[in-house]
Amino acid sequence: MTPPVISTNKKTAPRRKQGAATGLVIFSTFLLIICIVGLFQLSMVMGGSRQVRNAVDAGVLNISKRIIEVKVPASPQYKDVADSTGNIGISNINRIWGKAYLVNANAESMKADGQAGSNTETAAEAAFGHAKNLNDMLFNKVSDENVLNMYFQQLAHQRQASMVKADKVERSQADTISIAMIDRGLESNLSYTAGQLPDRITAQGTTFGNKSYLKGYVPMQANNHQFAFTSFRQGEMPHLIDDTYFENNNAAKPVGGAYTPLPNAFKRHGEVDSVSGKLTAVACAAANPQRTYTLAIPYSFVTIQVGNTAKWHVDQKKIKETTYGFKPEEQKGIKDYPLPSGGKLYGNASLGNEYSAATTLLEVIEALPGDHNQAFKKLLQRIKEIDPDFNQERLNKLLQSAAFNKEEAPSASGEAQPRKYFIYPVYSSADNTDPTIKIGSDKQNLPSWLNPDNPPEGLDKTVIQENKQKDKPNYCWGYVVGGKSSSVKHWTEVYGDVLWQPGTGFGQHLGELRFARVTDIYFADEPDSGP
């Protein structure tokens, strides 16, 4: 069998020598053009992507900057910590909680000291409730998607992604949490000083520079309520933050406490529809109002009251009580009092001598010896709730500056009335942040916000007892008519009780320091054997 013959001399068509280079050139040119166009498009998309990123960054930064403009009107109880327009925003929300915290800290301390009155708990609960209402109202506005989008688009709409032919950057719908509480455990924008809080209450603070600040997003206990402040780092402006940091602290991760504190960071997604497709970007930014406040109850006051009582005793039995003023005076307290041994007692006393050299309130307070600093400590702690920088030295100067008018104001009963002095702040700033502590006794000259008739909610308790002095500076004498002897044994004991009646501050009154001066006047039915 003959194998098939395969022809090996099959002739191919002769290659055309003409135009071979032209084809190559055309192909190369075409390839080059494709490469150029491709690279150009890629470069434009990359540039456009960067433009979108920058626009979203700017938009989110605009939220962080402008979120301070979102406000709610302050309730009357918190007008004193509102801004100059009477509103509460993210910048001063910590002031609200600061006041509520102080009120509740005062209430807890009053309970522990056994000085809580029937209105103490009511005031503390009201302070917390009103603060929570304001917080919740503001939280709803601050976390409202429409509000966040408005601020985002306010800037993002002005930004173009010209490289991808998009004239504005829009927000995009993204199923993510758009608020966060970052910088947990770091400083808030509320500073405080040592000794500002009542005994037994310890704040969670952190130091920055030479100041102490309440920690942000760390619940603090007072009167069985937990208070959490919003962190705002000192010396920082609104700035972009890392997405991971945002997510690690987003609002889904609870801070703790009975309410959700306001957020301090925001996140947005932005997008553009370009010819080359949809370009998206995401950015997160931290807000910072760059305004620091002090822990305080701006519209509050304390009072000092000084009153004098003479207690008349015969044979250790109190038979009469009178009041006396601040000028030396003679009182004929006992007249025609029948003595068991026969005869009638006439008893007199020289009173008010303890104030003979006193011209100022401080001198009146220190008219009798005693550890007045113990009493001043209570007063000072409360004044620090108005002005954290106030101290003992300034208190002494203030009391020394208060001239004491010894003239009696006419009273309906004709009896000497106790004198009351108000220690209160005045402010020159519209947001009540620069207290100047004043003292005055004239109700007419008090600030219009001050309600002098608001009592402190607590019960009074003796803080110190002034040293008892016998027969000085007040003294007595007596005589008997118709008895065996015309003389009668007599002596005086002069002392004072210093009482402290605390208030929570929710009703303005933070407490009253009362100096109750007493002159006990004794007569005994026996002949006077003394000098």
Binding site: K17, G19, L24, V25, S28, L61, L155, M237
Partner: protein
């Protein structure tokens, strides 16, 4: 006669190649110019962005301008990027925004007639973040 024919073919290929290069080379050079133009334009936008961000962290217009200028002074110039300059600053506290305009002078690596130098303009807007919350 065959030699002449071979020569003619070679010459034709050479002419075709030259004609091809005459198209490809200008295209390649234009592509180079285009690449430089796109790159520098994007770089100019980034400088405008940086300048706007630094200006936004200043509390007044004067400082904003100074900061933006000092920011742009950091831009490295070369034979291609001749200069990056501040064209305008609009520090608007009312709107709470600062707008920065920059101008970059770019020398084309392959100068063409009427296209030896290009001005790139960029504009960036940022919110002014230096102002504290009102009282």
């Amino acid at each position: 006669m065959p030699i002449r024919k071979r020569r003619r073919v070679r010459a034709q290929t050479l002419i075709e190649a030259i004609a091809g290069f005459a198209v490809i080379i200008p295209l390649a050079l234009m592509a180079l110019d285009l690449t430089v133009l796109v790159t520098t334009s994007q770089s100019n936008e980034q400088w405008a962005e940086l300048a706007a961000r630094s200006a936004a962290s200043q509390a007044n217009a004067q400082n904003a301008r100074l900061t933006a200028e000092s920011c742009l002074a950091k831009a490295k110039t070369s034979n291609i990027v001749q200069s990056v300059a501040l064209e305008g600053v609009d520090y608007d506290l009312g709107k709470g925004q600062v707008t920065i305009k920059t101008k970059m002078l770019v020398n084309m690596p392959v100068p063409f007639p009427f296209l030896s130098q290009v001005e790139c303009h960029a504009r960036a807007i940022q919110p002014i973040v230096a102002t504290p919350a009102p009282l």
